[in-house]
Symmetry: C2
Subunit: 197 residues, 2 copies
Amino acid sequence: MRQTDRSSAAAPAARVLDFAVLGLLHESPLHGYELRKQLNASLGSLRAFSYGSLYPCLRRLQGEGLITVDDSAAASKLSGRSKVVYTLTAEGKEHFTALLGEGGPSSWEDDSFGVHMRFFAQTDAATRLRILEGRRSRVEEKREGLRAGLSRTRERLDSYTLKLQEHGLESVEHEVRWLTELIDSERSHLTTTPPKD
Amino acid sequence: MRQTDRSSAAAPAARVLDFAVLGLLHESPLHGYELRKQLNASLGSLRAFSYGSLYPCLRRLQGEGLITVDDSAAASKLSGRSKVVYTLTAEGKEHFTALLGEGGPSSWEDDSFGVHMRFFAQTDAATRLRILEGRRSRVEEKREGLRAGLSRTRERLDSYTLKLQEHGLESVEHEVRWLTELIDSERSHLTTTPPKD
DNA sequence: TTCGTCATGTAATGGGTTACATGATTAC
DNA sequence: GTAATCATGTAACCCATTACATGACGAA
């Protein structure tokens, strides 16, 4: 047993924070502090990042040429504070769009799906559908795993563990229903407004 | 803004894995491989640990004198494989019971609440109640945060982000309801079988 | 004899937080 | 003038994963 057999996809983790930062900067230039606020507000319950990861991340992205410091914004000392305003470069834009359209397994993971969805408005219906369906499969797998485990061990579990597991299962089932609604609505979108039919 | 103001509780993190291992060994002696299976089975959807964290953890706990290698089990080569069977020491038992009964904020965190609940059968009703109520407050706080954020930004959000946030809110609300049920049932337990009244 | 599973471990790496250090600006 | 918030950053640490290395046992 290879410990976790999540296929041998060599994808380099596709850092969630990178993606999120790129996505926000794709909407408008921002400085670090504001970026973090937006980030934690819009990701809400899903995730919260600290400066200790944000600032190094910005530096890294800058090093990779995906973002630049917007000198014009920094220079105009209208409100004199020393802000470092970042903008997406052309490569940054390209990179982000690529990541967004990719819709591979990395966008289905628990921690990145929400972030991807946050930027759904910037994709096309087909990609959204692909991601939503991928996510649903993932969650359905999880559900099946839980169900199997539960029916296997139900008798041996004390009432608390049982309730815990059942609640977990319910949550997952709820997510599946939610995803299905989204998928249906997305599908009707597609058929009423066909992309190239 | 001190970044995250989770009070200045100096509690040394109360490592979840440690607690879980202690708890499982409190039920019966086990060797590493089996421990991991039990762990990932009973924590189910909540968490999954790898050997890379489990074995060092066992070593550490052993160093702290909380667990020992059960030589009798290792010596009896009935099924000759070289297993290293661990047992709780007296201090280990004490430590675990203390942690279990403590029911402080650390048992309300997302990642440790489930683990604590897994071992509820080994506590008293009062402690269970305390932990459940603590957890509920925590989740209610989260709910309020989400509601506030949502009502503040509802207009500015695109439909996808909105749906995402709303689903997050629903999940949290669902957990609150669930916890309330558990609390009520635990309360009636207490009143029908008073501990010292 | 080879494959799957049982079984134990280590080294490198990763992605993040905490706590700290610093200072400007705004509101009271 | 002082408290809160805005703003940027760094260094030390933490907890865990991944990938690797090793080997015994049972079944086909």
